[in-house]
């Protein structure tokens, strides 16, 4: 861009809004996609899946929040109700501001959604006057007051359309000067509002049955993050509000992340005595995650799957770092996008019908890709030689086989999840949870390796074989309940068989009474032998034998049935819980690049800075910077050279020595003759470059100036070389 100005200076060019074309999401996706074909299809599939996941999680969120929100709504209604009836006690009592302390847990990123649905619900069913404020926008009492007034009066003006527009309008036209920003203004506004609405349209009000008292709906103020509020501001605000409580039916909701005792820490008794605080505890975030995983991951409805490592990364980010379900879902979204973006065969990752259609439309190169899939190669190896040849040459035949394989993969998933749940039900009742307490742990184990190859599985089975009858029956009953609704032939079969076993177990009581103990006589014979004189070896042998026979013989009908049932379960596990990696074409559905997910979600800024300084060619994509021994080449950027040199120093670095070394290295890079006089001499340019590089290092936090020694700087990092 150019200016007509003659003078030197800085010019600001504002981008003209019309010219700039923001690339759409689709453009981003399509740009840099690996395979050109089916890009649009993949984008569409990805978009559809994500929309579905998003909608499902929102429904789930609402369901989870329903209970606590309902009790909160009850509380608000009760409060606004008790305010109205006036008996002696109500008159005598100090009028407290009803306050709900909502304990939400430390997963702060998730709170927004909860508060959003809360304020929506409140507006629908209790009162149109709801304002929510955040700590960061209310540094001083003035600002808090302004926000509250703005939101209450702004939303009230426009009931039907969105809030943001209204706010923007406010900013442009100062309808009320900040001078009027007091609660008495709000009182007047409230009175006008309630009077108008009660006289204006009584018919309309009556149509909403939930609202019991249209004349006096409470004014609800939500403090989203109580901990972050300045205590002083909050105290003053409450003091002011309590002066108006007679005229204005105020109500507070405190969003608390830690524990309710923070209220007492923030508010002194003189202030908290103005509040009538009731506590509401929300669902813990681990439970929340469990339901989300249950509904999103452990279901055959979504064709897109995560492999074990990716699951592990996402779950560990949740458990170790943030406890945020929202971030977990964001992680799933990232994996979804990456999968559809980088895997050309993801066109097949969709609903059955579409997938079968898409198989037929696969191009030559896609088919080639299928042939190269490791799982497919394994599949081919198992086939007859003729079939092998067919698969590698005949495209139409390959397509037919692919259709079959896609169907099989679907079936596998349909059977996998019910059996996984059954196994989980059985093993969670065992002491010390050999296969994990949560179903997600079991799922991850199953994803990584065949579960029956684990030692824990064996021990779990052993423990199961020691279960008492009523326990076993209860567990099997639950398994039956899990299997019952599944619509799959194999599962129906399994269900029928399990039902039979269960029925037998239940009948056992009546049968046992009739069956006489017939094992007695066989057991006595070795004992008789014991009476004879024997040597030690003989004795040991007979005892062992006795043990064997006892174990073999002692099986009661219950034990027989129990073993049968458990073997049946074991068989189910072995047929249906094989790792997905063993399935042909699993690459189509499973996203496996855990490193990408980790890099994107759990960034390591310092490691990347160090990597950049150590190996600049990696970032600059300049091959001339590569050196064999891994050291930094002379021609590397100044800061890399300086960084490299500083690694060789101790805690204190002499600046002059450093400069000398630097200038030697740089001179070598310039190709000066090592024998000439000027070699390694410090000239002004090198000096300046050195100073700049050093200050950049200081900015990055590798060194700092020190007063311990003149002309020295202190090193702040260790190791690395």
């Amino acid at each position: 861009m150019s200016t007509s100005s003659v003078s030197k200076g800085c010019f600001v060019f504002k981008p003209s809004a019309k010219k700039k074309k923001t690339p759409s999401l689709e453009d981003y996706f399509l740009h840099g996609c690996d395979a050109a074909e089916h890009r649009e299809t993949r984008f569409k599939l990805c978009q559809e899946l994500w929309d579905q996941i998003k909608a499902d999680t929102e429904v789930l969120q609402d369901e989870l929040n329903r209970k606590i929100l309902d009790s909160l709504l009850d509380f608000t209604r009760k409060c606004s109700f008790t305010r109205q009836h006036s008996d002696w006690a109500a008159q005598m009592r100090a009028s407290e501001i009803p306050t709900a302390a909502l304990v939400l847990g430390v997963n702060v990123p998730d709170h927004d959604m909860t508060f959003q649905s809360l304020s929506d619900l409140l507006q629908q069913s209790v009162s149109p006057h709801v304002a929510s404020v955040q700590a960061k926008e209310c540094g001083a009492l003035k600002h808090l007051m302004k926000r509250v007034l703005e939101r209450l009066m702004g939303t009230a003006v426009t009931v039907d359309d969105d809030e943001e527009e209204e706010e923007a309008e406010h900013a442009n036209t100062p309808l009320h000067k900040s001078v009027h920003c007091s609660l008495s203004t709000l009182c007047d506004w409230y009175n006008a509002k309630t009077k108008k609405s009660s006289s204006d349209t009584p018919g309309k009000k009556r149509s909403s049955p939930v609202r019991e008292d249209p004349q006096q709906p409470p004014v609800v103020i939500i403090f989203k993050d109580l901990e972050a509020f300045n205590p002083r501001v909050l105290q003053d605000f409450i003091l002011i509000c309590s002066r108006y409580i007679q005229r204005l039916p105020l109500m507070f909701i405190f969003g608390i992340a830690t524990s309710p005792s923070t209220i007492q820490r923030i508010l002194p008794h003189s202030v908290s005595s103005l509040l009538c605080i009731e506590l509401f505890q929300s669902l813990s975030c681990t439970q929340h995650l469990a339901t989300v995983i249950d509904k999103l991951i452990l279901t055959p409805h979504f064709p897109f799957k995560l492999n074990g490592k990716v699951m592990q990364v996402l779950v560990s980010i949740f458990l170790y770092h943030d406890f945020s379900v929202r971030n977990f879902i964001k992680g799933v979204q990232l994996a979804l996008l990456e999968h559809f973006h980088s895997q050309p065969l993801s066109v097949l990752c969709c609903k059955k019908k579409e997938a079968l259609l898409n198989v037929m439309q696969l191009s030559q190169s896609d088919l080639e890709r299928i042939r190269q899939l490791p799982s497919f190669e394994r599949y081919v190896e198992k086939q007859e030689p003729q079939e092998q040849l067919n698969l590698s040459t005949d495209d139409t035949h390959l397509k037919v086989v692919c259709q079959k394989l896609v169907k099989e993969l679907r079936k596998y998933h349909k059977n996998y999840y019910p059996i996984l749940r059954c196994l989980h039900t059985l093993t969670t009742s065992l002491p010390r949870y050999p296969l994990g307490k949560q179903i997600r742990e079991l799922h991850i184990t199953c994803l990584e390796k065949n579960v029956w190859e684990y030692e824990e599985y064996q021990s779990a089975m052993k423990l199961l074989k020691m279960l008492a009858k009523d326990e076993l029956i209860a567990l099997l009953q639950r398994c039956v309940e899990i299997l019952q609704p599944v619509k799959s032939k194999k599962m129906k079969n399994a269900w029928v068989q399990l039902e039979e076993l269960l029925a037998k177990l239940k009948q056992l009581d009546t049968v046992v009474a009739e069956a006489p103990p017939c094992v007695e006589e066989s057991l006595t014979s070795p004992v008789k032998n014991l009476g004879k004189k024997t040597d030690l070896f003989q004795l040991q042998k007979t005892l062992l034998e006795m043990n064997e026979t006892r174990r073999a013989k002692k099986l009661s009908p219950f034990e027989v049935l129990r073993n049968e049932a458990l073997e049946f379960i074991d068989g189910l596990v072995k047929t249906h819980l094989a790792t997905p990696e063993s399935q042909t074409l699993n690459e189509v559905c499973y996203y496996s690049s855990s490193a990408t997910v980790r890099r994107h979600l759990n960034a390591t800024p310092r490691t990347s800075i160090q990597a950049a300084l150590n190996s600049p060619y990696y970032y600059l994509q300049n091959n001339s910077l590569i050196t064999e021994d891994g050291s930094v080449s002379n021609a590397a950027p100044d800061i890399c050279v300086v960084y490299k040199l500083h690694l060789e120093c101790g805690r204190l670095i002499n600046l002059y020595d450093w400069l000398e070394a630097y200038s030697t290295v740089v001179s070598a890079a310039e190709g000066n003759n090592p024998d000439s006089d000027s070699f390694g001499k410090v000239d002004e340019v090198k000096h300046a470059r050195f100073i700049r590089a050093v200050s950049e290092l200081e900015f990055l936090g590798f060194i700092k100036s020190t007063k311990q020694k003149t002309d020295h700087v202190a090193r702040l990092t260790w190791g690395g070389c």
């Binding site: 005598m92 407290e96 001083a140 309710p260």
Partner: protein, 445 residues
């Protein structure tokens, strides 16, 4: 009784009414009346009234000014977020909204004085105008010139106006460095037990006799007088617990006069109230519900402070542990605790405490971020990459108020923190990750 409130300017009857509304405050009201003089006379420019919470300062002023129909404006300083709001309210109540709208956007004191004089020349005061300022201690935080100017507002605006400041703290804490006009000081002493009894007994329940209610108040004061003398709170508590007191009466077990039995019935109940509802551990609504349901079930409602458990992500727990150790251990002992081969520092030598007091008594000490991370890495059992989320967890601990940042927000280089959690909380946290924190604390070595 009424002899105290005698003034030639006002009718006897009206003074009588005032006196009825101000039980136990006749002396103060009398002094105020004599200070105010006759309505058309100039009064003293500024009066300063101080006394504890709920000692009747605002009430007395309200009743006097309202009953005697004197022109006045009452402002609460806590509500006046800006001086503009204060000026606006004053002008509004004396001259109507036209005057208030004359104020410029962010008015100074001289703007206010100018407009006041302008308005007052149009409608000069026939009677003394009174400005009552509640919670006047907040005036100290405003502009330095505001308080001295208000104290001699009478001179500034040349009008018959008197300013009355109400505060909970003494005048000595107000006096600005530069000196100012000294207001007349008036102290409202606390109500004595007898006076409290007299006042509280006035608001009797309509369906019970006055003596009955009075005996109830007597019992109530017997329990609560030692912890609470706040009239407002006492009245609130009286209302909350009265239904319980009447319970045996309604059942027909006891007669109104049988105070001993009534006392035996209510006393444990009141004691419990002192521990719960008075401290706002349990809200008044919940308390009332508890009374309606049976005594046995009341254990289900837990107080606010009973919930102290906080669930934290795994690394946050360790960060908090590291922060606690950094706050309560002297930095020189880190080597001893966190280095495998810490050389030959002999324990006895090492334990020579230069200061006898325990660090836990002195409170948490600030520590730099580097130290926190160094301890964190040595405390966590597996290797942790220094990812961005570790750092963001530190800042989220700060927002949760579990850590506090000591240095200024702007200081990006080597920020300093303090650990703001208690020992008990810390022990509970470290137990969940099976980390024996006591072994790492210098105080418990």
């Amino acid at each position: 009784m009424t002899s105290l409130l005698r003034h030639q300017a006002y009718e006897e009857e009206r003074l009588q009414r005032v006196a009825e509304k101000l039980p136990c405050r006749e002396t103060q009201a009398g002094t105020l009346l004599s200070l105010m003089g006759q309505p058309q006379q100039y009064s003293y420019p500024s009066i300063f009234i101080y006394g504890h919470r709920a000692s009747g300062k605002s009430h007395v002023m309200q009743v006097l000014l309202k009953e005697l129909e004197l022109p006045h404006a009452t402002v609460s300083c806590v509500e006046c977020v800006s001086v503009a709001l204060l000026f606006e309210q004053l002008l509004l109540s004396f001259f109507g909204c036209d005057a208030a709208s004359l104020l410029p956007r962010s008015p100074s004191l001289s703007d206010f004085v100018r407009i006041y004089r302008q308005q007052c020349s149009q409608s000069p005061a026939k009677q003394t105008r009174y400005i009552v300022m509640e919670k006047a201690e907040l005036l100290r935080d405003t502009d330095a010139n505001l308080l001295p100017a208000l104290l001699r507002l009478q001179e500034l605006v040349e009008d018959n106006v008197t300013i009355i400041l109400l505060s909970e703290i003494v005048w000595d804490k107000f006096r600005p460095n530069t000196g100012c006009f000294e207001p007349l000081l008036l102290h409202f002493p606390d109500y004595s037990k007898g006076e409290l009894q007299q006042i509280l007994s006035q608001d009797k329940h309509p369906s019970y006799s006055a003596e009955f209610y009075s005996s109830y108040i007597n019992i109530l004061l017997g329990v609560f007088y030692s912890v609470c003398r706040d009239l407002r709170e006492l009245r609130h508590l009286a209302a909350l617990n009265f239904s319980k007191f009447c319970e045996p009466l309604a059942d027909g077990k006891v007669k109104e006069t049988d105070t001993h039995k009534l006392w035996r019935n209510i006393e444990p109940h009141l004691k419990k109230a002192m521990q719960t509802v008075y401290l706002r551990e349990v809200s008044s609504l919940q308390w009332e519900q508890m009374q309606q349901t049976e005594e046995k079930e009341t254990g289900t409602v837990r107080g606010l402070s009973a919930h102290t458990h906080v669930e934290l992500p795994y690394y946050s727990k360790f960060l908090l542990i590291a922060a606690y150790l950094a706050s309560y251990n002297p930095a020189r002992t880190d080597k001893r605790f966190f280095l495998k081969h810490h050389g030959k520092i002999r324990k006895t030598n090492f334990l020579k405490k230069n200061e006898k007091t325990s660090n836990h008594l002195l409170g948490p000490k600030p520590f730099p971020l580097d130290r926190l991370l160094a301890i964190f890495y040595s405390v966590v059992d597996n290797r942790v990459a220094p990812t961005a989320s570790i750092f963001s967890q530190i800042s989220s601990l700060v927002t949760l108020q579990l850590l506090t940042q000591v240095s200024h927000d702007d200081q990006l280089d080597a920020p300093k923190y303090k650990c703001a959690v208690s020992m008990d909380f810390m022990c509970a946290i470290s137990r969940t990750v099976s980390f024996d924190i006591v072994k790492y604390l210098y105080d418990f070595l």
